[in-house]
């Protein structure tokens, strides 16, 4: 079943048009990766799904409902959670409080503070530490855990690997099958092509605000992806 369908979505970043009629479909339960170079419009695309970026034309249909005009806090109630670029941890709140804020408008589901600590054991001893005093990797784990606390049906991950050491990125990506295994549909945005292809069932490639390639990650060749990624 199709959980999310974008149809001809365009969006502006100030005066600059970032997306040009992007259409894509996400099946319930799959993990989808959106790859593309810096400035290709990946984060903007996630923003239009989460509601943090306005859609200027086209439609965003989630679970059979048009959500393109809804504000982001309403979309959280419907089951769309975004882990934003730069993690955006609440600096003055403790790790545990950050997680509890994540459950502010939670849907019914199994995620609890304890389960997040099981998924990311590195967070458990830091429960009382202020968000401002975490390392980048800890912040990213917390940002993912915080989004899970709302029990999302669709989890959007923006640039999980950005600015993190490869060993930390590997740890974070190891959590993704467990999240998907619980039935959550995942759309992740990555610059790191290798990481994205390993994690995802299907891949869309964005080039200058347009979809340049899509297919099952197991069936795409390296040449196809390179061409779609760089546009050469």
């Amino acid at each position: 079943m199709t959980l999310l369908r974008l149809d001809g979505v365009s969006s502006f970043y100030g005066d600059f048009q970032a997306l040009f009629g992007v259409s894509l479909e996400v099946e319930e339960g799959e993990t989808l990766a959106i790859i593309g170079a810096n400035g290709a419009g990946k984060s903007t695309l996630l923003g239009t799904i989460a509601g943090s970026v306005p859609v200027s034309s086209g439609s965003v249909v989630y679970a059979g409902q048009e959500v393109g005009r809804l504000r982001s806090h309403t979309r959280v109630e419907l089951g769309i959670s975004l882990v934003p670029e730069g993690r955006r941890i609440f600096p003055s709140l403790s790790v545990e409080e950050n997680l509890l804020v994540g459950s502010y408008r939670k849907r019914p589901g199994a995620w609890t503070v304890r389960r997040v600590f099981e998924l990311f054991p590195l967070l458990a001893p830091l429960a009382r530490r202020a968000g401002a005093k975490l390392s980048g990797g800890e912040q990213q784990a917390l940002a993912i855990g915080r989004a899970l606390m709302a029990n999302p049906r669709l989890l959007l991950l923006d640039e999980v690997s950005l600015g993190l050491a490869p060993v930390v990125v590997k740890q974070l990506y190891e959590a993704i099958p467990a999240i998907a295994g619980a039935g959550t549909t995942i759309v992740l945005v990555e610059q790191d092509i290798g990481q994205a292809i390993r994690a995802a069932d299907r891949v869309y490639c964005l080039l200058e605000g347009r979809i340049s390639l899509h297919g099952r990650s197991s069936e795409l060749s390296r040449e196809q992806i390179t061409t779609a990624y760089f546009g050469v």
């Binding site: 975004l82 934003p84 955006r88 609440f90 509890l100 804020v101 502010y104 408008r105």
Partner: protein, 296 residues
């Protein structure tokens, strides 16, 4: 002994100032809004109790119980319908709009209640006191004001640190956009914070009205004292606000005593001493005595 008395009375007066300052501190902490109508809203609450007492013959205490929730509702609606919009249009808009509300309130109160002073009758508690020594007596009413102030600030502290809504307020203050991504509607959180602030300001205005007589034009001075208490205590710290109120109160009563001993007009001496202590704190510790975070 007169000096000890001045300090004791100053501490208790500080309770009243902290009561005025609590809402100002909360609103600034949650949404970085400086509400210039804060003082006038407290006077509005006092006059609303006057109206209830005049119309229905209730005691001022019953009036207080009725007006606190009414001011909560006014605060919620004011924020939701008007002030939220101003916050989206830059830093100057909220200042101008709350300044405008202050002017409107002063004039509406003047029209409705005339320029005569009014007072609220709290009953025999107003004049009863506990005799500590022959020269030192503590009034029940100032003591009650102080206790209410401590309970209120403690309650606000618990609200912001331990409850779901309180966490949402702090999260919104930290990062508005990220809070929206957690499903928090910041417009409602702001409205709730303003509602709570005006509930506390109603408490402050009515206690002020029970302590002394008041005029429709009294708001701005209340605002200045509340500001001074917040700044002395340090932005973002509720207990700091209590300490700030106490420092200001003690400065004023001791200043009054100094002026009295020196044969100057005691009333002006007290107010002047309060302002001087405020300026001294601002010069030496601009972040206040208990600033939790460095404000930029």
């Amino acid at each position: 002994m007169t000096w000890v008395n001045a300090v004791v009375q100053g501490i208790l007066l500080g309770g009243l100032y902290a009561l005025f300052a609590a809402g100002l501190s909360l609103v600034f902490g949650v949404m970085r809004l400086v509400n210039l109508a804060h003082g006038d809203l407290s006077i509005l609450a006092a006059f609303l109790v006057v109206a209830v007492v005049d119309a229905a013959g209730f005691s001022a205490w019953v009036g207080l119980v009725l007006i606190v929730p009414a001011m909560f509702a006014i605060g919620y609606l004011l924020q939701y319908t008007i002030l939220n919009r101003t916050l989206e249009s830059g830093e100057l808009a909220p200042l101008l709009v709350t300044f405008g509300i202050a002017i409107i309130l002063q004039n509406v109160l003047l029209e409705a209640f005339s320029a005569d002073s009014r007072g609220l009758d709290a009953g025999s508690i107003e004049t009863d006191s506990i005799r500590v020594t022959d020269q030192l007596a503590v009034g029940w009413f100032p003591l009650l004001t102080f206790v209410v102030s401590v309970l209120l600030l403690g309650g606000l502290q618990l609200l912001t640190s331990r409850t779901r809504v309180g966490r949402a307020m702090r999260a919104t203050a930290d990062d508005l956009r990220a809070a929206e991504l957690m499903g928090i509607d910041h417009r409602r959180i702001y409205a709730l914070a303003m509602g709570i602030a005006l509930g506390t300001v109603a408490l402050a205005g009515v206690f002020f009205g029970m302590r002394t007589t008041f005029f429709p034009s009294d708001g701005p001075v209340r605002l200045i004292f509340a500001f001074e208490a917040v700044i002395i205590g340090g932005l973002g710290s509720l207990w700091g606000t209590l300490v700030g109120g106490v420092v200001l109160g003690v400065a004023q009563t001791v200043g009054t005593q100094i002026a009295f001993s020196a044969g100057i007009s005691p009333g002006w001496g007290g107010v002047l001493a309060g302002h001087l202590v405020f300026l001294a704190v601002l010069a030496m510790r601009p972040t206040g005595l208990f600033a939790r975070t460095q404000t930029t």
